[in-house]
Symmetry: C2
Subunit: 287 residues, 2 copies
């Protein structure tokens, strides 16, 4: 079968997401797939796994970048901005650069401003895929299968590039592609992704929770605490970069809990049932 | 292979849990497995599935009860008490009667008091297994595989019966069997089972959540809202029967959220990281 892509791709940062991208693109691309990482042993691991053709340190980034049609930056927020700053002159003419960050507004602005005069186009992308474990050794292209993907164009982006990103991420398995502004993205993601991480961390950090409860938990507790196994460096940055939206989301969640608590305190069985029916119904609508 | 049990068992209530019990015991028991249910079509379905030998309506409950060594009551809390009340004279001499309820304190007291003068022994049991869908058609003996089971004896129970229950539930797949008082059970379960249900329902009922977020959710939101698809009749009873413990658990959870919110509001990156590390570590201890 003919591979659908024939481009040169560089993945910056070979962690869980970057590694999974490399894996996925290696399979559907006839052109080169290169990797850049700070960590030499990660580069060696990726080459050994045969998911990149060659790995480069940050210092040699210009070598693959000069020849890459698509660059995917899969590092933490601040590091992503720094990488673009340091390599602004190294990208190939007409290169499409994208990221995988869980927050968009501030970073996309910064990155697009850095690249303002350059003959390249940066467009934000957010793969709604992940695992509770981080690092290349957990990478797997299957995490993209059927997952949601969000593209966050600004007025600096062209229709052509938006469509191109949509096409290539569908090629590696993403299913529903949404297109929203970076600001709207951050507002929604505070509720649909960051809040669930706040919940899991807060649930585990309750004072009544310790190893003695191990034999008293069922599937509900297990599922709701899954992402408490969190990457603190990454997620503290993500939370802080989206502080206002996240605080609002948490407040709304607490209001919703308070309503249920009121019904419970008042022993209002009917009200409790109405709430449960509503939740079931809304859950059905998003499933 | 020889089947490890050779007793007559009656399952009262052939819903998700009762049906799964019937299925599991049918396979490891040489004796009879009978079912009692209010709903004739459920009885027919269970017989068609070949997980019970014969089904009986509530009115004929005495027929299988008279011959049953073990009776498992798998109906809602109030219905369980009513069933024992109506059938107090119908149990076989030396029968062991148990339940599957998610709350224990009040109900076990009531049931043991009803049976005070009878030559039978009632002992509370809680299989920490379930699904987000209810009803016989979702029953599956695999839900018990490796799951936790809690036995809640009182001073009215004998060592012999505690050990017997432990043995038979291990036979159908349960792994970690804990033995605690009904009061302790209710206190723990408020945190490890009821609170996760409060969280899922409250998350779905937030005003910012509607069907438009469908394409913006990832695994964390999906997992944490799973049990929002809840059985309102059952869970409103469970919540109300354990009101004080549940309110305390929710308060503790909200305190834990407030701490994270404070760190976020103060942009205290170090504090956030410490919280995340603590949560990861505690999650590791119960996994």
């Amino acid at each position: 079968m003919q591979k659908p892509l024939n481009i040169n791709i560089t993945i910056v940062g070979l962690g869980l997401i970057g590694g999974s991208y490399a894996m996925a693109f290696k399979e559907i691309n006839n052109g080169h797939v290169w990797g850049i990482d700070l960590n030499k042993s990660t580069l060696k691991e990726a080459a050994d796994m045969n998911i990149i053709e060659k790995g480069y340190s940050d210092l040699d980034a210009r070598i693959p970048l000069k020849k890459s049609d698509v660059v995917i930056i899969a590092v933490y927020p601040k590091a992503a901005v720094r990488f673009v700053e340091e390599n602004a002159a190294n990208f190939k003419e007409n290169a499409i650069i994208t990221d995988v960050l869980g927050i968009k507004g501030k970073n996309i602005n910064q990155i697009q401003n850095i690249l303002l005069e350059k003959p390249v186009e940066f467009i934000g992308g957010h793969p709604m895929a992940g695992k509770e474990s981080s690092g290349l050794s957990y990478a797997s292209k299957s995490i993209f299968e059927g997952a949601n993907y969000i593209i966050t164009p600004t007025e600096k982006n062209s229709e052509e590039v938006i469509n191109y990103i949509e096409k290539i991420v569908k090629n590696i398995g993403f299913k529903n592609i949404s297109i929203v502004t970076p600001e709207k993205h951050d507002e929604i993601i505070a509720v649909t992704s960051q809040l669930p991480h706040v919940i899991a961390v807060s649930l585990m950090n309750m004072k009544n929770i310790d190893k003695n409860i191990k034999n008293f938990i069922g599937g509900s507790f297990r599922d709701e605490s899954r992402v408490a196994n969190i990457n603190p460096e990454l997620w503290s940055e993500l939370f802080l970069s989206n502080k206002e939206n996240l605080l609002s989301a948490v407040d709304e969640f607490q209001k919703s809990i308070d309503e249920l608590k009121d019904a419970l305190r008042e022993e209002d069985s009917e009200k409790l049932k109405v709430m449960m029916k509503k939740a079931s119904c809304k859950k059905g609508e998003i499933s």
